[in-house]
Protein backbone atom coordinates (compact mmCIF):
# COMPACT_ATOMS: atom_id res chain seq x y z
CA UNK A 1 0.00 0.00 0.00
CA UNK A 2 1.84 3.14 1.13
CA UNK A 3 5.48 3.02 0.21
CA UNK A 4 6.39 4.21 3.69
CA UNK A 5 4.82 1.17 5.25
CA UNK A 6 6.82 -1.68 6.59
CA UNK A 7 5.83 -4.51 4.35
CA UNK A 8 6.65 -7.85 5.87
CA UNK A 9 6.46 -9.37 2.42
CA UNK A 10 9.03 -6.82 1.39
CA UNK A 11 11.52 -9.14 3.02
CA UNK A 12 10.55 -11.89 0.64
CA UNK A 13 12.56 -11.93 -2.53
CA UNK A 14 9.92 -13.08 -4.94
CA UNK A 15 7.53 -10.40 -3.94
CA UNK A 16 5.28 -10.43 -6.97
CA UNK A 17 4.53 -14.12 -6.69
CA UNK A 18 3.91 -13.78 -2.99
CA UNK A 19 1.55 -10.90 -3.44
CA UNK A 20 -0.41 -12.80 -6.05
CA UNK A 21 -0.52 -16.00 -4.03
CA UNK A 22 -0.30 -14.78 -0.45
CA UNK A 23 -3.92 -14.30 0.50
CA UNK A 24 -5.04 -17.19 -1.74
CA UNK A 25 -2.88 -19.64 0.16
CA UNK A 26 -3.86 -18.25 3.53
CA UNK A 27 -7.50 -18.83 2.63
CA UNK A 28 -6.78 -22.35 1.38
CA UNK A 29 -5.04 -23.12 4.66
CA UNK A 30 -8.03 -21.91 6.66
CA UNK A 31 -10.43 -23.92 4.47
CA UNK A 32 -8.34 -27.07 5.00
CA UNK A 33 -9.45 -26.92 8.61
CA UNK A 34 -13.15 -26.60 7.85
CA UNK A 35 -15.51 -25.22 5.20
CA UNK A 36 -16.40 -21.60 5.80
CA UNK A 37 -18.02 -18.57 4.24
CA UNK A 38 -16.16 -15.40 3.34
CA UNK A 39 -16.88 -13.47 6.49
CA UNK A 40 -15.77 -16.32 8.73
CA UNK A 41 -12.47 -16.43 6.88
CA UNK A 42 -11.95 -12.72 7.42
CA UNK A 43 -12.66 -13.13 11.13
CA UNK A 44 -10.33 -16.10 11.43
CA UNK A 45 -7.46 -14.08 9.93
CA UNK A 46 -8.11 -11.18 12.28
CA UNK A 47 -8.31 -13.37 15.34
CA UNK A 48 -5.16 -15.30 14.54
CA UNK A 49 -2.86 -12.44 13.59
CA UNK A 50 -4.40 -9.67 15.66
CA UNK A 51 -3.50 -6.07 15.10
CA UNK A 52 -0.35 -7.00 13.23
CA UNK A 53 -2.30 -8.27 10.23
CA UNK A 54 -4.32 -5.78 8.27
CA UNK A 55 -7.12 -8.09 7.36
CA UNK A 56 -8.12 -7.85 3.71
CA UNK A 57 -11.52 -6.28 3.26
CA UNK A 58 -14.46 -8.55 2.65
CA UNK A 59 -14.64 -7.60 -1.03
CA UNK A 60 -11.06 -8.77 -1.55
CA UNK A 61 -11.82 -12.04 0.21
CA UNK A 62 -14.74 -12.72 -2.13
CA UNK A 63 -12.74 -11.77 -5.22
CA UNK A 64 -9.98 -14.14 -4.11
CA UNK A 65 -12.44 -16.93 -3.37
CA UNK A 66 -13.92 -16.39 -6.86
CA UNK A 67 -10.49 -16.87 -8.42
CA UNK A 68 -9.80 -19.95 -6.35
CA UNK A 69 -13.14 -21.37 -7.47
CA UNK A 70 -12.40 -20.63 -11.13
CA UNK A 71 -9.06 -22.45 -10.80
CA UNK A 72 -10.81 -25.43 -9.25
CA UNK A 73 -9.05 -25.12 -5.90
CA UNK A 74 -12.22 -24.55 -3.90
CA UNK A 75 -15.88 -25.22 -4.56
CA UNK A 76 -18.90 -23.45 -3.13
CA UNK A 77 -22.27 -24.73 -1.99
CA UNK A 78 -25.28 -22.57 -1.34
CA UNK A 79 -26.64 -22.92 2.14
CA UNK A 80 -30.21 -21.78 2.67
CA UNK A 81 -30.88 -19.42 5.51
CA UNK A 82 -34.27 -18.51 6.86
CA UNK A 83 -35.14 -14.82 6.39
CA UNK A 84 -31.85 -14.11 4.64
CA UNK A 85 -30.32 -14.70 1.24
CA UNK A 86 -28.47 -17.96 0.77
CA UNK A 87 -24.86 -17.90 1.81
CA UNK A 88 -22.03 -19.55 -0.02
CA UNK A 89 -19.94 -21.96 1.98
CA UNK A 90 -16.57 -22.77 0.45
CA UNK A 91 -14.65 -26.00 0.81
CA UNK A 92 -11.30 -27.25 -0.39
CA UNK A 93 -11.04 -29.54 -3.44
CA UNK A 94 -8.39 -32.25 -3.88
CA UNK A 95 -6.57 -29.91 -6.25
CA UNK A 96 -6.73 -27.17 -3.63
CA UNK A 97 -5.27 -29.51 -1.04
CA UNK A 98 -2.40 -30.33 -3.42
CA UNK A 99 -1.62 -26.63 -3.92
CA UNK A 100 -1.64 -26.13 -0.19
CA UNK A 101 0.65 -29.12 0.37
CA UNK A 102 3.07 -27.77 -2.23
CA UNK A 103 3.10 -24.41 -0.46
CA UNK A 104 3.73 -25.98 2.93
CA UNK A 105 6.38 -28.41 1.70
CA UNK A 106 8.45 -26.04 -0.35
CA UNK A 107 11.16 -24.02 1.38
CA UNK A 108 10.15 -20.42 1.86
CA UNK A 109 12.37 -17.71 0.39
CA UNK A 110 14.73 -16.21 2.95
CA UNK A 111 14.98 -12.54 3.77
CA UNK A 112 15.41 -10.26 0.85
CA UNK A 113 18.72 -10.44 -0.92
CA UNK A 114 18.19 -7.62 -3.36
CA UNK A 115 17.76 -4.41 -1.46
CA UNK A 116 16.41 -1.32 -3.15
CA UNK A 117 18.21 0.98 -0.76
CA UNK A 118 21.53 -0.71 -1.46
CA UNK A 119 21.06 -0.22 -5.21
CA UNK A 120 20.43 3.45 -4.53
CA UNK A 121 23.44 3.67 -2.24
CA UNK A 122 25.78 2.21 -4.82
CA UNK A 123 24.38 3.84 -7.93
CA UNK A 124 23.18 7.30 -6.87
CA UNK A 125 26.58 8.78 -5.98
CA UNK A 126 27.85 7.87 -9.45
CA UNK A 127 25.44 10.39 -10.90
CA UNK A 128 26.53 13.08 -8.45
CA UNK A 129 22.98 13.64 -7.17
CA UNK A 130 23.52 12.31 -3.66
CA UNK A 131 26.30 11.43 -1.30
CA UNK A 132 26.43 8.17 0.52
CA UNK A 133 26.80 9.59 3.99
CA UNK A 134 23.59 11.58 3.57
CA UNK A 135 21.72 8.60 2.11
CA UNK A 136 22.75 6.33 4.96
CA UNK A 137 21.91 8.90 7.61
CA UNK A 138 18.47 9.48 6.17
CA UNK A 139 17.81 5.75 5.88
CA UNK A 140 18.88 5.18 9.49
CA UNK A 141 16.40 7.74 10.75
CA UNK A 142 13.71 6.17 8.60
CA UNK A 143 14.38 2.69 10.01
CA UNK A 144 14.30 4.06 13.54
CA UNK A 145 10.96 5.73 12.87
CA UNK A 146 9.67 2.35 11.63
CA UNK A 147 11.04 0.73 14.76
CA UNK A 148 9.21 3.25 16.88
CA UNK A 149 5.96 2.33 15.12
CA UNK A 150 6.63 -1.34 15.80
CA UNK A 151 7.31 -0.57 19.48
CA UNK A 152 4.01 1.23 19.72
CA UNK A 153 2.23 -1.54 17.85
CA UNK A 154 3.66 -4.12 20.25
CA UNK A 155 2.42 -2.03 23.20
CA UNK A 156 -1.09 -1.87 21.76
CA UNK A 157 -1.23 -5.56 20.86
CA UNK A 158 -3.06 -7.96 23.14
CA UNK A 159 -0.21 -9.47 25.22
CA UNK A 160 -1.92 -12.86 25.02
CA UNK A 161 -1.72 -12.99 21.24
CA UNK A 162 1.57 -14.78 20.73
CA UNK A 163 1.20 -15.01 16.98
CA UNK A 164 0.81 -11.26 16.58
CA UNK A 165 3.67 -10.55 19.02
CA UNK A 166 6.00 -12.94 17.22
CA UNK A 167 5.15 -11.38 13.89
CA UNK A 168 6.08 -7.97 15.28
CA UNK A 169 9.24 -9.31 16.90
CA UNK A 170 10.24 -10.83 13.55
CA UNK A 171 9.82 -7.48 11.83
CA UNK A 172 11.90 -5.85 14.59
CA UNK A 173 14.73 -8.34 14.20
CA UNK A 174 14.80 -7.79 10.44
CA UNK A 175 14.92 -4.06 11.01
CA UNK A 176 17.76 -4.47 13.51
CA UNK A 177 19.70 -6.47 10.90
CA UNK A 178 19.07 -3.73 8.33
CA UNK A 179 20.44 -1.13 10.75
CA UNK A 180 23.50 -3.23 11.50
CA UNK A 181 24.09 -3.60 7.79
CA UNK A 182 23.69 0.14 7.29
CA UNK A 183 26.46 0.61 9.84
CA UNK A 184 28.71 -1.73 7.87
CA UNK A 185 27.95 0.19 4.70
CA UNK A 186 28.82 3.43 6.47
CA UNK A 187 32.13 2.04 7.67
CA UNK A 188 33.20 0.72 4.29
CA UNK A 189 31.59 2.95 1.68
CA UNK A 190 31.89 6.46 3.07
Amino acid sequence: MHSANLNVNGYVRNERVTRRWGVRLHLLALLAKEPAHGYELKQALEQTFGTAYPSPNIGQIYVTLGRLEKDGLVRAVDVEQSNRPNKKVYYLTAKGRDSLTDWVDEPTEGPRVRDEFFMKLVLAPLTGIADRMALINRQRRHYLALMRDLNELAERTDQGNQVALLLIEGAMLHLQADLDWLERCQEDLT
Binding site: N9, T51, N137, R141, L150, L153, R156
Partner: protein, 244 residues
Protein backbone atom coordinates in the same frame (compact mmCIF):
# COMPACT_ATOMS: atom_id res chain seq x y z
CA UNK B 1 17.68 24.71 29.61
CA UNK B 2 20.87 22.94 28.57
CA UNK B 3 21.76 20.03 30.83
CA UNK B 4 24.86 18.89 29.00
CA UNK B 5 27.21 20.57 26.58
CA UNK B 6 30.52 19.57 25.10
CA UNK B 7 32.79 21.85 23.10
CA UNK B 8 35.34 20.35 20.72
CA UNK B 9 35.79 17.35 22.99
CA UNK B 10 38.80 15.20 22.16
CA UNK B 11 40.22 11.98 23.55
CA UNK B 12 43.51 10.57 22.37
CA UNK B 13 44.85 7.35 23.85
CA UNK B 14 48.53 6.54 23.86
CA UNK B 15 49.28 3.12 22.49
CA UNK B 16 52.97 2.77 23.35
CA UNK B 17 54.23 5.83 21.49
CA UNK B 18 51.46 6.02 18.92
CA UNK B 19 48.61 8.42 19.61
CA UNK B 20 45.22 6.83 18.88
CA UNK B 21 42.40 9.33 18.57
CA UNK B 22 39.11 7.90 19.90
CA UNK B 23 36.98 11.04 19.99
CA UNK B 24 37.84 13.82 17.59
CA UNK B 25 36.16 17.11 18.32
CA UNK B 26 32.61 16.42 19.47
CA UNK B 27 30.19 19.30 19.96
CA UNK B 28 27.05 18.09 21.62
CA UNK B 29 24.26 19.89 23.38
CA UNK B 30 21.46 18.16 25.27
CA UNK B 31 18.51 20.10 26.61
CA UNK B 32 16.52 19.34 29.72
CA UNK B 33 14.08 16.49 29.16
CA UNK B 34 15.70 15.34 25.93
CA UNK B 35 16.40 11.69 25.18
CA UNK B 36 19.45 11.26 22.95
CA UNK B 37 20.65 7.91 21.59
CA UNK B 38 24.26 7.60 20.46
CA UNK B 39 24.85 4.98 17.78
CA UNK B 40 27.79 3.89 15.68
CA UNK B 41 30.01 0.92 14.89
CA UNK B 42 32.29 -0.51 17.56
CA UNK B 43 35.42 1.57 17.75
CA UNK B 44 33.58 4.73 16.72
CA UNK B 45 34.17 6.34 20.12
CA UNK B 46 30.67 5.96 21.64
CA UNK B 47 31.74 4.43 24.93
CA UNK B 48 34.73 6.73 25.28
CA UNK B 49 32.41 9.69 24.80
CA UNK B 50 29.92 8.72 27.51
CA UNK B 51 32.72 7.70 29.84
CA UNK B 52 34.15 11.21 29.53
CA UNK B 53 30.71 12.72 30.07
CA UNK B 54 30.37 10.66 33.23
CA UNK B 55 33.86 11.52 34.45
CA UNK B 56 35.08 7.92 34.21
CA UNK B 57 37.71 8.89 31.69
CA UNK B 58 39.61 12.16 31.39
CA UNK B 59 39.39 14.27 28.27
CA UNK B 60 42.46 15.16 26.24
CA UNK B 61 41.10 18.57 25.30
CA UNK B 62 37.81 20.41 24.97
CA UNK B 63 35.09 21.28 27.46
CA UNK B 64 32.31 19.47 29.32
CA UNK B 65 29.51 21.50 30.87
CA UNK B 66 26.93 20.06 33.21
CA UNK B 67 23.89 22.07 34.29
CA UNK B 68 25.73 25.25 33.34
CA UNK B 69 28.85 24.35 35.29
CA UNK B 70 32.19 23.56 33.70
CA UNK B 71 33.03 20.04 34.82
CA UNK B 72 36.23 18.99 33.08
CA UNK B 73 38.41 21.50 34.93
CA UNK B 74 37.21 20.44 38.37
CA UNK B 75 39.44 18.57 40.78
CA UNK B 76 38.81 14.84 40.92
CA UNK B 77 36.92 15.06 44.19
CA UNK B 78 34.81 18.01 43.09
CA UNK B 79 33.95 16.18 39.87
CA UNK B 80 32.97 13.10 41.90
CA UNK B 81 30.71 15.20 44.07
CA UNK B 82 29.05 16.84 41.09
CA UNK B 83 28.58 13.45 39.49
CA UNK B 84 26.95 12.01 42.57
CA UNK B 85 24.52 14.90 42.62
CA UNK B 86 23.70 15.14 38.96
CA UNK B 87 24.42 11.95 37.04
CA UNK B 88 23.03 8.43 37.10
CA UNK B 89 25.24 6.03 35.19
CA UNK B 90 24.59 2.52 33.89
CA UNK B 91 27.85 0.88 32.88
CA UNK B 92 28.37 -2.10 30.65
CA UNK B 93 29.70 -3.75 33.78
CA UNK B 94 27.38 -3.06 36.58
CA UNK B 95 29.62 -2.14 39.51
CA UNK B 96 27.07 -3.07 42.16
CA UNK B 97 28.29 -3.09 45.76
CA UNK B 98 28.83 -6.80 46.43
CA UNK B 99 28.32 -6.64 50.17
CA UNK B 100 24.91 -4.95 49.98
CA UNK B 101 21.47 -6.24 49.07
CA UNK B 102 19.71 -5.21 45.89
CA UNK B 103 17.46 -2.89 47.92
CA UNK B 104 20.43 -1.13 49.55
CA UNK B 105 22.29 -0.83 46.26
CA UNK B 106 19.33 1.01 44.77
CA UNK B 107 18.58 3.18 47.79
CA UNK B 108 22.16 4.26 48.46
CA UNK B 109 22.47 6.99 45.80
CA UNK B 110 19.22 8.60 46.90
CA UNK B 111 20.31 8.53 50.55
CA UNK B 112 23.74 9.96 49.68
CA UNK B 113 22.00 12.74 47.83
CA UNK B 114 20.06 13.60 50.95
CA UNK B 115 16.69 11.94 50.35
CA UNK B 116 14.82 10.78 53.45
CA UNK B 117 14.81 6.99 54.05
CA UNK B 118 11.09 6.94 53.30
CA UNK B 119 11.46 8.71 49.95
CA UNK B 120 14.44 6.53 49.02
CA UNK B 121 12.48 3.38 49.86
CA UNK B 122 9.43 4.42 47.85
CA UNK B 123 11.51 5.30 44.84
CA UNK B 124 13.35 1.96 45.12
CA UNK B 125 10.05 0.05 45.33
CA UNK B 126 8.70 1.83 42.26
CA UNK B 127 11.82 1.18 40.17
CA UNK B 128 12.32 -2.45 41.14
CA UNK B 129 8.65 -3.15 40.51
CA UNK B 130 8.83 -1.58 37.05
CA UNK B 131 11.80 -3.83 36.27
CA UNK B 132 10.17 -7.02 37.63
CA UNK B 133 12.76 -7.28 40.41
CA UNK B 134 10.58 -6.96 43.49
CA UNK B 135 11.23 -10.56 44.50
CA UNK B 136 14.98 -10.05 44.43
CA UNK B 137 15.26 -7.13 46.90
CA UNK B 138 16.99 -9.14 49.60
CA UNK B 139 19.41 -10.89 47.22
CA UNK B 140 23.05 -9.93 46.99
CA UNK B 141 24.50 -9.03 43.58
CA UNK B 142 26.40 -12.33 43.39
CA UNK B 143 23.08 -14.20 43.46
CA UNK B 144 21.75 -12.36 40.43
CA UNK B 145 21.98 -13.22 36.75
CA UNK B 146 23.71 -10.79 34.40
CA UNK B 147 20.38 -9.49 33.19
CA UNK B 148 19.15 -8.93 36.74
CA UNK B 149 22.34 -7.09 37.69
CA UNK B 150 21.93 -4.86 34.68
CA UNK B 151 18.39 -3.94 35.65
CA UNK B 152 19.43 -3.27 39.25
CA UNK B 153 22.14 -0.97 37.90
CA UNK B 154 19.48 0.91 35.93
CA UNK B 155 17.27 1.22 39.00
CA UNK B 156 20.23 2.50 41.00
CA UNK B 157 21.06 5.06 38.34
CA UNK B 158 17.51 6.39 38.41
CA UNK B 159 17.07 6.29 42.21
CA UNK B 160 18.21 9.82 42.59
CA UNK B 161 16.19 11.32 39.73
CA UNK B 162 19.48 12.62 38.36
CA UNK B 163 19.72 15.65 36.09
CA UNK B 164 21.20 13.30 33.53
CA UNK B 165 20.94 9.56 33.01
CA UNK B 166 23.96 8.20 31.14
CA UNK B 167 23.90 4.61 29.97
CA UNK B 168 26.22 2.41 27.97
CA UNK B 169 24.31 -0.44 26.24
CA UNK B 170 21.66 -0.73 28.96
CA UNK B 171 19.97 -3.73 27.30
CA UNK B 172 23.18 -5.51 26.31
CA UNK B 173 22.59 -8.53 28.55
CA UNK B 174 18.82 -8.78 28.46
CA UNK B 175 16.43 -11.21 26.82
CA UNK B 176 13.49 -9.78 24.96
CA UNK B 177 11.04 -9.81 27.87
CA UNK B 178 13.44 -7.98 30.20
CA UNK B 179 14.28 -5.60 27.40
CA UNK B 180 10.60 -4.76 27.18
CA UNK B 181 10.58 -3.86 30.91
CA UNK B 182 13.58 -1.60 30.42
CA UNK B 183 12.05 0.03 27.35
CA UNK B 184 8.84 0.70 29.22
CA UNK B 185 10.67 2.21 32.21
CA UNK B 186 12.90 4.40 30.04
CA UNK B 187 9.82 5.63 28.17
CA UNK B 188 8.07 6.34 31.45
CA UNK B 189 10.87 8.29 33.15
CA UNK B 190 11.47 10.18 29.92
CA UNK B 191 7.81 11.23 29.81
CA UNK B 192 8.24 12.36 33.42
CA UNK B 193 11.02 14.68 32.24
CA UNK B 194 14.18 12.62 32.75
CA UNK B 195 17.06 13.72 30.52
CA UNK B 196 18.73 10.67 28.97
CA UNK B 197 21.88 10.11 26.94
CA UNK B 198 22.60 6.52 26.07
CA UNK B 199 24.82 4.48 23.82
CA UNK B 200 23.08 1.58 22.17
CA UNK B 201 23.17 -0.89 19.34
CA UNK B 202 19.61 -1.92 20.05
CA UNK B 203 17.28 -0.19 17.61
CA UNK B 204 14.31 -0.74 19.93
CA UNK B 205 16.05 1.38 22.58
CA UNK B 206 17.27 3.99 20.09
CA UNK B 207 13.80 4.35 18.61
CA UNK B 208 12.51 5.65 21.96
CA UNK B 209 14.84 8.63 21.72
CA UNK B 210 13.91 12.08 20.48
CA UNK B 211 17.22 12.40 18.73
CA UNK B 212 19.90 10.12 17.35
CA UNK B 213 23.57 11.05 17.19
CA UNK B 214 25.68 8.85 14.92
CA UNK B 215 29.40 8.56 15.45
CA UNK B 216 31.96 7.33 12.96
CA UNK B 217 35.70 7.37 13.64
CA UNK B 218 35.24 9.59 16.67
CA UNK B 219 33.21 12.25 14.92
CA UNK B 220 29.51 13.05 14.75
CA UNK B 221 28.30 12.28 11.25
CA UNK B 222 24.60 12.71 11.90
CA UNK B 223 22.57 14.43 14.59
CA UNK B 224 18.86 14.74 14.15
CA UNK B 225 15.37 13.97 15.34
CA UNK B 226 13.59 10.74 14.60
CA UNK B 227 10.57 11.88 12.65
CA UNK B 228 7.08 11.10 13.79
CA UNK B 229 5.64 9.44 10.74
CA UNK B 230 2.36 10.67 9.34
CA UNK B 231 0.99 11.78 12.69
CA UNK B 232 -2.72 11.48 13.19
CA UNK B 233 -3.39 9.55 10.02
CA UNK B 234 -5.26 6.31 10.33
CA UNK B 235 -3.48 4.98 13.36
CA UNK B 236 -4.69 1.50 12.51
CA UNK B 237 -2.07 -1.05 13.30
CA UNK B 238 -2.55 -2.57 9.88
CA UNK B 239 -0.83 0.43 8.41
CA UNK B 240 2.44 -0.58 9.98
CA UNK B 241 2.71 -4.16 8.94
CA UNK B 242 1.07 -4.70 5.65
CA UNK B 243 0.96 -8.35 4.82
CA UNK B 244 -0.82 -7.99 1.54
Amino acid sequence: MTVLKTVNLVKIYQNKHVPVPAVRGVDLQVDEGEFVAIMGPSGSGKSTLVHMLGGLDTRTSGEIWLDGQRADTLSESAWALLRRKKIGFVFQFFNLVASMTVADNVELPALLAGASPKVARERREYLLDALSLTERVEASPAQLSGGEQQRVALARALANKPSLLLADEPTGNLDSRNTRDVLRLLGQVHRDGQTIVLVTHDARVASLADRVVSLLDGEIVDDGKIARRRPGRGGGAGEVIDLR
